[in-house]
């Protein structure tokens, strides 16, 4: 109905010659605007760069984005989707990959692991995606891993995770556990003189594995240090008063917290309400990024330390450009956490690898991955290790009331990823 009316109007308008000319002139404006943009299709022949039937044409290449945008995990995964789309847009603006524009197909894992596997299969088998950026929880990654291995796909996985995994078909752009834990514990031991640690976590594989590594490191490698308590809570737990009392009783030098999701909010609010002052009590976490602080409220967590590889406040040229591009695309109020930055690395690392390999073929990309350097990374500089994880620095930041972290410490060198750490299992 509307469409009919509109075309009537247009026709009437076009009857006047002057208006017609004006309209034609206006129609050319978008074309003009297109002019400085790169033209796609000038790359090497498709038959040469794609021998396995991936969705690559002379001017386009298709990748998949597979995250939860509905369900419980949407809270965490939204940032990753945003970062990946930003990276893809920037790569296209810079000329694409091997002269081809990246087109993405986005699928929703809906916070449900079998759905992730099903959508992964769809992206690989029906859409023939040359790469997939996706997954967030370890459970979803474990669900899609057999699919990627069976149909030979390439997954760029952004989250810091527990390690104990390595696959030809996955590039892990987040930290594995030792990269996130050991340097942080060494730092707190050295600068704060911490001797006693109270370990807390949500009850699933990542916090448990991480705390296991933390305990081994504290008891085996730090002189005279011990763990005075270790506790786990069901996901979604909202009452921490009992454990807070226990913490008050044992007076540990450090509270080491790996609590995730909504529980975080309850934990930090109750900690503050119970009169635990973070300027006197050291708290070190590896699970609270700027994203989580949004929900917790900066004033509730100010003074706590977090061990990550990236903070939004990092002071380097790459990061400043990244932060301003991100805010321009997604709004002034959005914050960028560790995982969001790691997700941003995915498309870029893939582009660099494809260009080094001179091919989109999965086997060639997997083989070319080790040694790939990305100098434009917001976190500074990263390099892919033979084990498909990233060399990256470990950093400690201190939470401020405005919801940002202030960088306190960073390792001098890149920390080697070690997904199967000897003596920590």
């Amino acid at each position: 109905m509307n469409g009919v009316l509109m075309s009537d109007e247009t026709e009437k308008g076009l009857k006047s010659p002057l208006r017609r000319q004006l309209l034609m002139g206006m129609a050319a404006i978008p074309a003009l605007a297109m002019m400085p943009r790169p033209s796609f299709g000038a790359g090497p022949a498709t038959s040469a760069v794609n021998t396995t039937g991936l969705a690559v044409t002379d001017s386009e290449v298709t990748v998949g984005i597979l995250h939860s945008v509905t369900g419980t995990m949407a809270i965490s995964e939204t940032g990753s989707v945003q970062a990946e789309k930003l990276a893809i847009e920037q790569i296209n603006a810079a000329g694409g990959v091997l002269g081809r524009k990246i087109k993405y197909i986005q699928e929703d894992g809906a916070s449900d692991w079998p759905t992730f596997a099903e959508k992964a299969k769809k992206l690989l088998v029906n859409d023939k995606c040359a790469a997939v950026m996706g997954c967030w929880t370890s459970a979803s990654r474990k669900a899609v891993l057999p699919v990627f291995e069976q149909y030979n796909g390439m997954l760029y996985y952004p989250t810091f995770y527990e390690g104990l995994e390595q696959s030809k078909n996955v590039i892990y752009t987040g930290q594995e556990a030792t990269q996130q834990i050991i340097a942080g514990l060494d730092w707190v031991n050295k600068t704060k003189g911490a001797k006693t640690f109270y370990l807390l976590g949500s009850d699933y594989i990542w916090p448990r594995t991480s705390n296991k590594i933390a305990r081994k490191h504290i008891e085996g490698h730090l002189q005279g240090c011990k763990v005075v308590g270790e506790e786990y809570f069901p996901l979604g737990h909202t009452q921490f008063n009992s454990v807070i009392n226990k913490i008050k009783l044992t007076k540990p030098d450090v509270i080491y917290a790996i609590i995730v999701g909504g529980s975080n909010v309850a934990f930090y609010k109750q900690l503050k309400a119970a009169g635990i002052d973070m300027s006197k009590q050291t708290l070190l976490t590896i699970s609270v990024t700027e994203d989580e602080i949004d929900g917790i409220g900066g004033e509730n967590i100010a003074g706590a330390y977090a061990c990550m590889k990236y903070f939004q406040s990092l002071d380097n040229a790459n990061n400043k450009a990244f932060v301003s591009a991100f805010k321009k695309m997604w709004g002034e109020k959005t914050v960028i956490g560790d995982v969001t930055q790691a997700a941003y690395l995915g498309p870029w690392l893939w582009k660099l690898t494809v260009e080094k390999a001179g091919s989109f073929d999965i086997d060639k990309v997997a083989a070319a991955s080790p040694g790939i350097e990305f100098k434009g990374a917001p976190e500074g500089y990263v390099r892919i290790h033979e084990n498909h994880h990233l060399w990256s620095k470990t950093r400690v930041g201190r939470a401020k009331a405005d919801g940002q972290y202030e960088l306190i410490y960073e390792t001098a060198d890149l920390v080697e990823p070690d997904p199967f750490p000897k003596g920590y299992q």
Binding site: V69, T70, G71, T72, A74, I75, T78, D203, E230, E231, Y232, F233, P234, G236, H237, T238, Q239, N241, S242, V243, I244, N245, K246, K248, L249, G261, G262, S263, N264, V265, A266, K269, Q270, K272, A273, A274, G275, D291, E292, I293, D294, G295, I296, G297, G298, E299, N300
Partner: protein, 308 residues
């Protein structure tokens, strides 16, 4: 396990631990009251209860933002306004839902379970579309944060006391409304014999609608209060729903007193055990104990005596 601590320390801890249990108790009662009214008085299994709570939380968040931008001077008192608005918002939505959906399903109790579960999914996605998938942080006035220093080593969180007072107040109001007011008598009459109540001139449809609205409104107030202790996000309501049903079913569905007794039992068991073992184990043991007791007393702790 107590060998390392001094007597004074232990005394302080037991005091604070007892208080932690009381706070948990208030939280459970507040969560369960709305559901107890709806489930107990109307027999409707409202799976969307958590989402009505979260609506209250979002209303609180919006109110806090509004006060910060327009009335910063009155910010310390915004919470009371927020709770009233939360009650109105959740209550109105509840009455709308009753009118549009629930009243068509009174004769099919199991279908209400499915219908309200569907409603909860719809509401979750609606929150996600309107407020975004990320959690929002509700800023609290300063006087509500921090703790009250009872002695040197005993600290009582102020927001915990606030929740306790609120729970007591709401419980008294609900008890008064249901047991002493004219409207409460009508509600109970409708529950006992709908046809007869209609025959003596009670507008049963209206009673149903207001009862459902009251239950949802209290859920909204609970949600508002929980912004102090928990998270506010589209799916945060799911965190509460299991515990809420546990309290109501364990207490005996139709009994307000039962709900309170069951909340007390569960919270004390939970917080005492949490002190001696890890949070996960405490939860497992609590649930096991409840299963065992419900096997022996399927009708719950307190049940109305009815002739079978």
């Amino acid at each position: 396990m107590f060998g390392d601590y001094s007597i004074g320390d232990l005394g302080a801890i037991f005091a604070m631990q007892g208080f932690a249990g009381l706070i948990l108790f208030s939280v459970y009662v507040l969560m369960a009251l709305g559901l107890a009214i709806i489930f107990g008085q109307m027999g409707v299994i409202n799976m969307a209860h958590g989402e009505f709570m979260i609506l209250g939380a979002y209303v609180t968040w919006m109110t806090s933002n509004a006060f910060q931008s327009f009335l910063p001077a009155l910010f310390p008192g915004y919470f009371f306004v927020a709770m009233a608005l939360a009650f109105v918002a959740s209550g109105s939505l509840g009455m709308l839902v009753e009118w549009a959906m629930i009243r068509r399903l009174y004769k099919r109790p199991l279908d209400t379970l499915l219908a309200t579960w569907g409603l909860s999914l719809i509401l979750q996605q609606a929150y996600r579309s309107v407020f975004g998938a990320r959690e929002v942080g509700v800023e609290l006035p300063d006087w509500m944060m921090g703790s009250w220093q009872a002695t040197d080593s005993i600290q009582i969180p102020i927001n915990g006391m606030f929740v306790m007072c609120l729970t007591i107040l709401i419980t008294i109001v609900v008890a008064y409304v249901l047991f002493l007011s004219r409207w409460g008598k009508q509600v109970r009459a409708v529950v006992q014999n709908r046809v007869m109540a209609g025959a003596v001139g009670i507008n049963t449809e209206k009673v149903d609608r207001y009862t459902f609205g009251l239950g949802c409104g209290i859920a909204g107030v609970a949600g508002s209060a929980f912004t102090m202790i928990g998270s506010t996000g589209p799916t945060a309501g799911q965190l509460y729903i299991v515990d809420t049903f546990l309290v109501v079913v364990f207490g005996g569905a139709a009994s307000l007193l039962g709900t309170i007794a069951s909340a007390f039992t569960i919270s004390q068991a939970q917080s005492t055990m949490e002190f001696f073992m890890s949070g996960s184990m405490a939860k497992v043991l609590t649930l096991l104990a409840i299963v065992a007791i419900l096997m022996m007393r399927p009708q719950g702790l307190f049940a109305l005596k009815v002739r079978k």
